[in-house]
Structures are given as structure tokens and as C-alpha cells.
């Protein structure tokens, strides 16, 4: 295990039991499961921004919730700065809660509409005992609002969320996280609901947080374009597995896994003279329970899919500097003919 890593995930699994008919339940005792997260391994360095990209239903959000102990993992180990946290009790985990935080997608839904901006931050400060008295609380709120770019502070102090724009609300959400001085922040689709002109401002704020406070980020998104802008490394997810992981420019310019290649082809470019590419894959992400997939989970949609792909599980193999992919075509067990 990498000792310097902020977060190390080993064989993380989260399966959800599926409901079954009465007869099936009586005849066969076992229930089938949906493998939302199926055997994930990675580690996140200090001040690193690691992006997780995939289509809806690939397990990105379930993974982040499991890492933060909002869901109990089915299996695997989660280490935060060398301490195993998935076996801790709720009470033992509380000091870690402060260090591992999350910024959600919908700022309109994640802020209490009946509290003003300053009250929202004050609540967080009180819960975690971050200030000794009221003036200290005020000073901390002021400092935080300034830091997330809500200047002049007085203008926002007594405002309710409904009076703010999406970008401003997202800054309040970020302030609420920042006030805790976290070391790991999971940003779950944090800019997808915002206008393009505002997005860059929020992403630059995340950069600032990383540089100034040394925060590491897990950036979850379905948008490869913003992921390219902000991430140091990108992991591509498909049906609960990481299919490819590597440095951002490597993934964008030299994708090795057929799924990554398809995703990149599908992204439209802001250039009217560009030729519209043909999409190599068909269909959509299947909702498949445990027993239907034995081999590679992408085999059904893969343009190069072979018989072997459905029976043999591909392993992660190294294809470049820090660049890994899991595909039977790459490791040479089967070839395109």
C-alpha cells in the first residue's frame, strides 16, 4: 500500500440485493445482486485531482458514497492516510468525517432554503465546534465567504439561497466544505447544472483550494471535457469497474480501451467544420444482475467483442506510464482479425 496516498481503495465492492419473486425465493435460497461497484482499486495522492468518468448507472456515485461511509461497503478496504476507515464505528469515524467531504451536484437542493448564507455556514461551524464564540464564528464565516469569491461579504451575509444564482450557490456549498479544512473532497457532478460561463469559475476555485490548502479531489462526472480541464488523472468506469485509468492527456489522446475510445468519439467538438464521427458502439448501459455477466462487462456492446470476452474476465494491465487498461484485446489473449 502506498504510504503517502491520501486515500487508498482496495477491492471495493457494493452490491445491492434485488427483489425476487416468491417462487424463485422458495426454490432457490439465494438472492441475486446488482453489482453497483464491483472490485475497484486505486489510490489518490496528496494534491491530486482524480476524475471518474462514465455513463449514468456505472456506479460513480455509489462509489463516492461508499468511500464516505454513507453506504456500507459489501467488501474491500478503504484507507484514509494509512488508517483503515471502513471498519470503524460511526462514533470512531466522526473525526474523519471532517476530513472527507463532498460537494453535490444540485446546489438548489443541497442548501436549506430557510437559512441565510451565514446561517448555513454557522451551522456547520457549530456542529464541528470550529469556533469558540460568536465573534470567532463571524470571523470564520467572513473569511470563508471571501475565499470562495463571494465578495463583498456583507451583500451575501443575510441572503436566502433562492436569491442567489446557481454559481453563487455552488460557491456557498464549497464554502461549507472548505470551512472544515478537509483533506479529501469528492465533487460529484459539481458543475454539470451550471452555465458554461460560470463552470470555469467554479473549476478554478477548486484549483485554488487544492493549491492553497493542499486538498485532494475525486472529481466525478459524465463530462469528459471538464474532466480534461481539471483532472491530473482520469479513470473510466463501466458497470462498476474501472476499465482504464491514466494521466489525463494520455487517456484523451491515446485511449486504449474500446469503451474509452467510444466515449471520446461521442463527445461533440465546438468546431462547425469538424466531421461528425461515426459512433462505434450501440445500445446503452444494461442493468444487469450478478450472474448474467461472467466475462468482460463491456463485451455486449464492444465493437471488437469475441466469444472469449464473454467468458473470461480481463485483468488490469499496464499499457504506459501510470496508464492501465483492462481488455483482453490489449493483453493479447485474443486478437482482432
Amino acid at each position: 500500500m502506498n504510504q503517502n496516498a491520501v486515500l487508498t481503495i482496495e477491492n471495493l465492492k457494493k452490491h445491492f440485493p434485488l427483489r425476487k419473486g416468491l417462487f424463485a425465493a422458495l426454490l432457490k435460497g439465494e438472492r441475486s445482486h446488482l453489482r453497483a461497484v464491483d472490485n475497484i482499486n486505486f489510490s489518490l495522492g496528496k494534491k491530486e485531482i482524480l476524475g471518474f468518468v462514465g455513463e449514468s448507472g456505472c456506479g460513480k456515485s455509489t462509489m463516492s458514497r461508499t468511500i464516505l461511509q454513507l453506504l456500507e461497503p459489501t467488501g474491500g478496504k478503504i484507507y484514509f492516510k494509512g488508517t483503515r476507515v471502513d471498519t470503524l464505528s460511526r462514533k470512531q469515524f466522526k473525526p474523519f468525517r471532517k476530513k472527507m467531504q463532498m460537494i453535490f451536484q444540485d446546489p438548489f437542493g443541497s442548501l436549506n432554503p430557510r437559512r441565510t448564507v451565514s446561517e448555513i455556514l454557522r451551522q456547520t461551524i457549530k456542529i464541528h465546534n470550529l469556533a469558540k464564540d460568536r465573534p470567532a464564528e463571524d470571523a470564520l464565516i467572513k473569511k470563508t465567504l471571501e475565499e470562495v469569491g463571494l465578495n463583498p461579504v456583507e451583500e451575501y451575509w443575510n441572503k436566502y439561497p433562492q436569491l442567489l444564482s446557481g454559481g453563487q450557490l455552488q460557491r456557498v456549498s464549497i464554502g461549507r466544505v472548505l470551512v472544515l479544512q478537509p483533506e479529501l473532497v469528492i465533487a460529484d457532478e459539481s458543475v454539470s447544472m451550471l452555465d458554461v460561463s460560470v463552470r470555469i469559475g467554479i473549476l478554478d476555485l477548486l484549483f485554488k483550494m487544492r493549491d492553497k490548502h493542499g486538498i485532494s479531489f475525486i472529481y466525478i462526472t459524465h463530462d469528459l471535457v471538464t474532466a480534461r480541464y481539471i483532472c491530473d488523472r482520469i479513470a473510466i468506469m463501466y458497470l462498476g469497474n474501472i476499465v482504464e485509468i491514466g494521466p489525463t492527456e494520455e487517456i484523451i489522446n491515446h485511449p486504449r480501451h474500446p469503451y474509452t475510445q467510444a466515449l471520446i468519439t461521442a463527445v461533440p467538438v465546438p468546431d462547425p467544420t469538424a466531421k461528425v464521427p461515426e459512433l462505434p458502439i450501440k445500445g446503452y448501459v444494461p442493468v444487469a444482475p450478478e450472474d448474467t455477466i461472467r466475462g468482460c462487462s463491456f463485451a455486449l456492446r464492444c465493437p471488437y467483442g469475441k466469444k472469449n470476452c464473454r467468458s473470461e474476465k480481463p485483468q488490469m494491465i499496464r499499457v504506459g506510464d501510470e496508464h492501465f487498461a483492462s481488455c483482453l484485446l490489449i493483453d493479447g489473449s485474443i486478437s482482432i482479425d
Binding site: E55, V196, G201, A266, P268, P270, V276, L279
Partner: protein
């Protein structure tokens, strides 16, 4: 010949603090078989403009001036009954969030035939056959005609919406963020389907999106809107390669791309203007890097330069 011609259109929403000028004196026309893109930040009047083309403006909103001519006839003074004849038959819409636009208790087949039977005097049997054809056209197997919307995935719902919208062979289609909120792979499939539909049915369309890359791919001309006004209107290629208006420049400059070098991007400081009490002169002045004193005193008129229209004092 222009299929749609909009002139001096003004749509105000009457609020307690005075009228909010969501669309304020805009004009454009769309030639037959062409697609016009409307881009801009949230709250700039894109959707209001598009909705007005079907006269879908509900109180407190009101069309307070101007004309919208569809094949030569002004639809602004039309009665509800007259406009109802046009909706679905001649002008149709595909919206964002198909899950909310479809009726959850009717099958897809029923929803398509309903549209056909409303506008044409055909038998139920013919309508059903046409509905099947529609489904095939948008890439759904006709065996799923008895399915309910909840049995469809997000992308399929959007396809079903398009099948309903084009059931009566309309001439004009309003596409209001049809791919927003979909995954890239599904988005690519929907864009492909829309391109097919447009070719098969000879459609003219208006395409609203805040995704500049989708607009680049689908539109022939693009109008950039800001604070209820058109700031620049041009053919797509010249706009993307050489934006003239400072707002268009900023908008395109803030847009990241997957192709080419990874570049530094700049967000546009500030937010969209108040529509009730807009800044004097040019509405973009408070956020504009090039603003001079004239900009906050005089409103720039849309002038035509080389087939492009620009409203800016600084562009000569």
C-alpha cells in the same frame, strides 16, 4: 424563402416590480430546411423566444409587440383555436426532460395516434400503422408500441418524444435542449436521429442549447442572445472561427474542448443582467472588457456586416 420571420418581437412578464423584459425587440428569419441555433446563458430569453413561435406564452407573460410570421401568416393575433390547428400539425416541439413531457399513464402508441387523430381524419387503424412507422423512424422497434414511458430509458423517451412531435409531418420543429442531461453516447445517438429526421421530413428547425459544441454540429446559423436581445447573428462557421461581439468571444472562449491543446479558459465575470431593470445602453457593458463611455449611454443597433449582424459600438 423564409419559413419563419420574426420582427420586433417583445415578450414581457408582468411582475409586481414591473415588467421583466424577457425578450426585448428581437428579429430573425429562418430559411426553409435550415436550422437556427439560439445560444446564451440561462435567463437570456432563448426558451421564451422559442416558445413564442408556438405562442406558448402563459400569463404573466405576454407578447406585447412585434410579429411572428409563419409561412406569411402572423401568428401573434391568432385565436386559441387557430393556433391549436398549427400546433403539432405545422409546428412541433421536442423538449428537454422527456420524462416530464410524456404522459405516464398512456402507452407510447396511444400518445402518437392521439396526435394523428387530432389533426387528420384517418381511421384508428391507419393511425396505428403510422405510429409504428414513426417509431421505426426514430430507431425504436415497433413492437414496443404498447410500452409505457417508464419502460423506456432516458434516450428512448427522447426518441419517443421526437416520434410524437413529427407524427403529422410538421414543417417546423422547435428543439429545446433536446440532449441536455443525457450521457454522451446517448447524446450522439439522439443527434444522429435528429439529423435523419430532418433529412427525411425536410424540416426547418430552431435549436436551443447552452452546449456550444452541439450547436456547432447541428446548426446552419446561430444567434447569440444576452439579456433578451440578440447580440450577434451569423453563419455558424464564421461565428465560431471569428466571433465579433465581445460576448460571443467570451462565451466561445469559456468553452473547453477535447480536441487540440489543453488551454487556459476564462470565465465571464459577473452574472446575467436584471430583466426588470436592465443596465442602460448596451446590456453587456458591466461585464464587457472593451466597454467605453458610449456603451452605457447609447444602446447599439444591430448592424449588418458581411451577412452577419452585430450589436456593438466597438465593432466597426
Amino acid at each position: 424563402m423564409a419559413l419563419i420571420e420574426v420582427e420586433n418581437l417583445k415578450i414581457y412578464f408582468m411582475t409586481r416590480r414591473g415588467p421583466a423584459k424577457a425578450v426585448d425587440d428581437i428579429g430573425f428569419s429562418i430559411e426553409k430546411n435550415k436550422t437556427l441555433g439560439l445560444i446564451g446563458e440561462s435567463g437570456c430569453g432563448k426558451t421564451t423566444t422559442a416558445m413564442s413561435l408556438m405562442k406558448f406564452i402563459k400569463p404573466p407573460g405576454r407578447i406585447v409587440g412585434g410579429s411572428i410570421r409563419f409561412m406569411g401568416n402572423d401568428i401573434v393575433p391568432m385565436t386559441d383555436e387557430q393556433i391549436r390547428q398549427l400546433r403539432g400539425k405545422e409546428i412541433s416541439i421536442v423538449r428537454q426532460e422527456a420524462q416530464n413531457a410524456l404522459n405516464p399513464v398512456l402507452t407510447i402508441g396511444k400518445q402518437i395516434t392521439e396526435m394523428i387523430l387530432e389533426h387528420e381524419s384517418v381511421t384508428k387503424k391507419t393511425a396505428l400503422a403510422r405510429a409504428k412507422k414513426q417509431l421505426n423512424l426514430v430507431g425504436i422497434s415497433d413492437q414496443r408500441i404498447t410500452n409505457f414511458p417508464h419502460e423506456f430509458s432516458g434516450g428512448m423517451k427522447q426518441r419517443a418524444m421526437a416520434a410524437i412531435a413529427t407524427a403529422c409531418n410538421p414543417k417546423f420543429l422547435i428543439l429545446d435542449e433536446p440532449t441536455t442531461g443525457l450521457d454522451v453516447v446517448v447524446q450522439r445517438q439522439i443527434l444522429e436521429m435528429l439529423r435523419n429526421l430532418k433529412k427525411e421530413l425536410n424540416l426547418t428547425a430552431v435549436f436551443i442549447s447552452h452546449d456550444l459544441s452541439v450547436v456547432a454540429e447541428t446548426c446552419d446559423r446561430v444567434a447569440v442572445m444576452y439579456g433578451g436581445k440578440i447580440m450577434e447573428e451569423s453563419d455558424t462557421v464564421s461565428l465560431y472561427q471569428n466571433p465579433l461581439h465581445p460576448y460571443s468571444k467570451a462565451l466561445i472562449g469559456a468553452y473547453p474542448s477535447l480536441k487540440g491543446e489543453r488551454r487556459q479558459l476564462k470565465s465571464i465575470p459577473g452574472g446575467p443582467p436584471s430583466l426588470i431593470d436592465p443596465p442602460p445602453g448596451c446590456r453587456f457593458t458591466p461585464r464587457c472588457e472593451l466597454a467605453q463611455s458610449i456603451c452605457s449611454q447609447e444602446e447599439p443597433v444591430l448592424k449588418t456586416i458581411d451577412g452577419r449582424r452585430i450589436a456593438c459600438h466597438m465593432v466597426k
